[in-house]
Amino acid sequence: MQIDYAAVAPELVLTGALCIVLVVDLVLPDNRKGLIMPVSLLGVAGTLLALLALAGDPTRTTLGGMFVVDSFAVTLKILFCVAALLTLAMSYDYLRKEGIHQGEFYFLLLCSLLGMLTIASSRDLLPIFVSLELVSVPAFVLAGLQKIDVKSNEAALKFFLFSILSTAVMLFGMSLIYGITGTTNLAEIAVRLAATPVLRSIAVLSVFFVVVGFGFKISAFPFQWWVPDTYEGSPVPVAAFLSVASKTAGFVGLLQIMFIAFHGLADVWRPFIAAVAILTMTFGNLVALTQRHIVRLLAYSSIGQAGYILLPLAVVNVNGGSVNHEAFAASIAYLLIYAFMEMGAFSVAVAYGREGGYFIDDYAGLGYRAPGLAVVMTVFLFSLAGIPPLAGWAAKLFIFRAVIDGHEYWLAVAMAVNTVIALFYYAKVVRRMFFEPAGDGPLGVKVPLLLQATIAVSTVMVLLVGILPDLAAHLARMSTLV
């Protein structure tokens, strides 16, 4: 079989890089482990370069039609690489202070990243399943890396159990789909579902199981129970990685399956998705109101955001057409924008956390003690809340646009109400930082260089995309599957 090596170049580079990281970790003496970080960084940067070389190319298909490199795949792979770079930069000082082994951490992170890259190119249930596992298996370990911390242990356990449970449910659904269509190729599934007069009930049942399986990965209600505990217990950069990259990987798998394979059944699953999306955002936003820990707050906020990202699926049309295109593009654009604001907020949490603490009370008066940090945190939080001209506003606009284009006004209104609820808790943190007298926290927080870089990149992106939303929108529209 002919393999198109150009198409798999990024994955090959990354695989090479993670092998090197593993070997370097073995041969380096303990006091030189700091070198692994630059090696990993170079590996991801190399992957990114290989990806950029692929950008703009016509679609390539290889490995027996299972691996497709189109603009959708390239865009999301670039996003995953950027998220990984930000996580790497965020981790270095954190790991040193927490006494976590650098080598294994980066190795596992790169493994997980590899899974994300392959899932974006997978157009078959089998590679989607194995890629998803490649994303998750290293992530369990990463979540548990603060080994002597009971919370971290528990984070890993919860994440692990929920994840394989969801995999099992998803696989059962996939097996039924295989049974009724005789194929695992996404495009073929769509064709055969349309052609063969199968009973609707079994198709719906299998789609239901698959969606439930993905519901865990993307933390949709009522499968979100693991999220706050896992995020809080994990090392904070891992929480950032999970909330951005891992969740996006879940969405990528879900979007591919729903839009390529199952759009013919859209009229059946649309109401179900609508209900899940609304419940997810409402639950996330309401519970976020009560949180006192910044990582848990961000966790619940990320549940809320997942609801927004899911919402456009609720307007998908059986016959395809521009509505589907808009819906897909809206979700993708939201994912692109969400990555930067979430990463930014987590970077600030990491930067401040070591010295100042992770409770929202600890942020009291930060505006006076470390004005710069407080201002960028405000930028990220208000962006998450959707206040223009920050990027999150554009993301919400795209969703609203898609939903109204699909004539689902009530969904738009429900999301609008949610946006207002969400503002409460974002503003709560901002209020703490600025409206309260400087507490007894540290004065002038020292931010390591690499963290400064992640914060700066995120801030610039949030502002830039906020003023020129087309940067994200254009990319998203170019890279749709439908």
Binding site: I387, P389, F400, Y409, R431, F435, L468
Partner: protein, 505 residues
């Protein structure tokens, strides 16, 4: 001149944000530089704004000085700005009042002392406010509209009175709530229009032919957003809190400009694009406006806090503006625009005075003032003058807006029930009497009467030169607009005629 015609508006709107960025990068200790920057970057836009008057053709209907550039092609939003007779006065008012606020802030800054943050936010606010009045694209309009939110939130929350946090979050949530629905309305409009567009001018051509059910729904969605900002009764409850707690400059900007964004939204977007819905809702808007007038006046009678009293009076004055708009007639809309400018000038001035009184007495409780005319004759005189202007005395600015709004409701658009509007007129008339009542009573209690014991023999400083500089333009405008209303009407009439034509008036 050519450059000015194409980019003058953009320049005047975005200069302040450049100033805000410069201030952000100036070290906190260099207060002089910061103050200078804030002065310069409010003065320059004003200069541009005045120069714009030279290229603006007063006799023309329709938009002028337009700029229309590609911005977010993928969703069809464009950078489209321009002004006509309705937006011009409001834009100029914005540029002027912010500059005056910058002058005032040279000496009087609210506690906690942080000129850097305060002035940067003020400049940011100016961009948002001015931008709202020139935006001709719904997405652009929305951005500017929301840009106002955060600076005002911080202004109230950081530098406000004792209940500042409550007031700040209330202001934020109310406005955000409204604006989210406004955005949904914009999007619905976009998708209903064919071809899909966010362009206000194009929508004015397409919108009127939309089915009436759709118009009504979209009008309602947007209306919530605008009504909260105006604020119309019963959405007004954020206003007294925000006004009372905000620092002086915040109150001035809030009263003078922010509130006009809502009424402007009705005039620029809702009514011309959805004339059918405008006719449907006009009686309701009129009713709410009249309720606001009477309700505000009654509330004012019960207030003891000077700022709160002025805040409630704003609700009433904006009621007159909305009543004028609701008639959908040329006179009514003209009166509304005039009323907006007049209210901006007069109430802005009143809040300045209230701030200065608070500077001196450290209280705004009316019972604890008293006898101010004796102790501080100039300040007392100015208060009396402005309050009288506010109650609508002929010869001063407040008169024209209110009287014409009442007059126009005697004879509203032919499609509306004139009986209903005559009832409104009578009720509004009662409102004017009540307004005169509480303002005169306020003047009597503050200026006359006995000096409270704690101020006996204590030295109180009367109006200072810097205050005079900051206030003089407003005082002159109060008098000037009252004596020569054509200053405004000449500018607005042509555009208003264009607007009312769309309504079949």
């Amino acid at each position: 001149m050519d450059f000015l015609a194409h980019w003058g508006l953009t320049l005047s709107v975005f200069l302040p944000i450049v100033g805000a960025a410069l201030i952000a990068f100036t070290p906190k200790e260099q207060e002089k530089t910061i103050k200078f920057l804030s002065l310069a970057f409010t003065f320059l836009p004003l200069v541009v704004g005045v120069l714009l008057l030279r290229v603006y053709h007063i006799g023309m209907t329709g938009m002028q000085l337009e700029t229309n550039r590609s911005w977010i092609p993928s969703i069809g939003a464009r950078y489209h700005v321009g002004i006509d007779g309705i937006s011009l006065p409001l834009l100029e008012l914005t540029l002027l009042v912010t500059f005056l606020c910058a002058i005032y802030s040279l000496k009087w800054l609210p506690e906690p002392h942080n000129p850097k943050g305060f002035l940067a936010l003020m400049l940011l606010l100016e961009t948002g406010m001015a931008g709202t009045f020139i935006a001709l694209d719904l997405v652009l309009f929305f951005i500017f509209w929301e840009l106002v939110l955060v600076p005002m939130y911080f202004m109230i929350g950081l530098w406000g009175g004792p209940r500042r946090e409550y007031a700040a979050i209330k202001f934020f949530l109310y406005t955000l709530f409204g604006s989210v629905f406004m955005l949904l309305g914009f999007l619905a409009l976009y998708f209903r229009a064919s071809p899909h567009t966010f362009d206000v001018l194009q929508l004015q051509r397409i919108g009127p032919s939309l089915p009436s059910g759709i118009q009504n729904l979209i009008f309602l969605g947007m209306g919530i957003g605008f009504a909260i900002k105006v604020p119309m009764w019963p959405f007004h409850t954020w206003l007294p809190d925000a006004h009372t707690e905000a620092p002086t400059v915040g109150s001035v900007l809030l009263a003078a400009i922010l509130l006009k964004m809502g009424t402007y939204g009705f005039l620029r977007i809702s009514i011309p694009i959805m004339p059918h819905a405008a006719r449907t809702y006009a009686p309701l808007i009129g009713a709410l406006a009249v309720i606001a007038i009477v309700y505000a006046a009654l509330n004012c009678l019960a207030q003891t806090d000077l700022k709160r009293l002025i805040a409630f009076s704003s609700v009433g004055h904006m009621g007159f503006v909305m009543l004028g708009i609701a008639t959908l007639t040329q006179i009514g809309v003209n009166a509304a625009v005039f009323g907006m400018v007049a209210h901006g000038v007069i109430t802005g001035m009143l809040f300045f005075i209230a701030g200065s009184i608070h500077e001196r007495y450290h209280t705004r409780e009316i019972p604890q003032l008293g006898g101010m005319a004796l102790r501080l004759p100039i300040l007392g005189g100015l208060l009396a003058f402005t309050a009288i202007a506010s109650l609508g005395l002929p010869g001063l600015a407040g008169f024209w807006g209110e009287v014409l709004a009442l007059l126009s409701s005697y004879n509203p658009l032919s499609a509306l029930s004139s009986h209903t509007f005559r009832v409104y007129m009578v009720a509004g008339g009662i409102g004017t009497v009540l307004t005169a009542g509480y303002l005169l009573w306020m003047i009597q209690r503050v200026n006359l009467g006995k000096v409270p014991a704690q101020w006996e023999g204590k030295k109180l400083v009367d109006v200072q030169p810097l205050e005079m500089v900051a206030w003089a333009p407003l005082l002159l405008l109060t008098l000037g607009l009252g004596l020569f209303p054509r200053l405004i009407f000449d500018v607005t009439t042509h555009s208003v005629i264009g607007l009312t034509k769309l309504l079949g008036g």
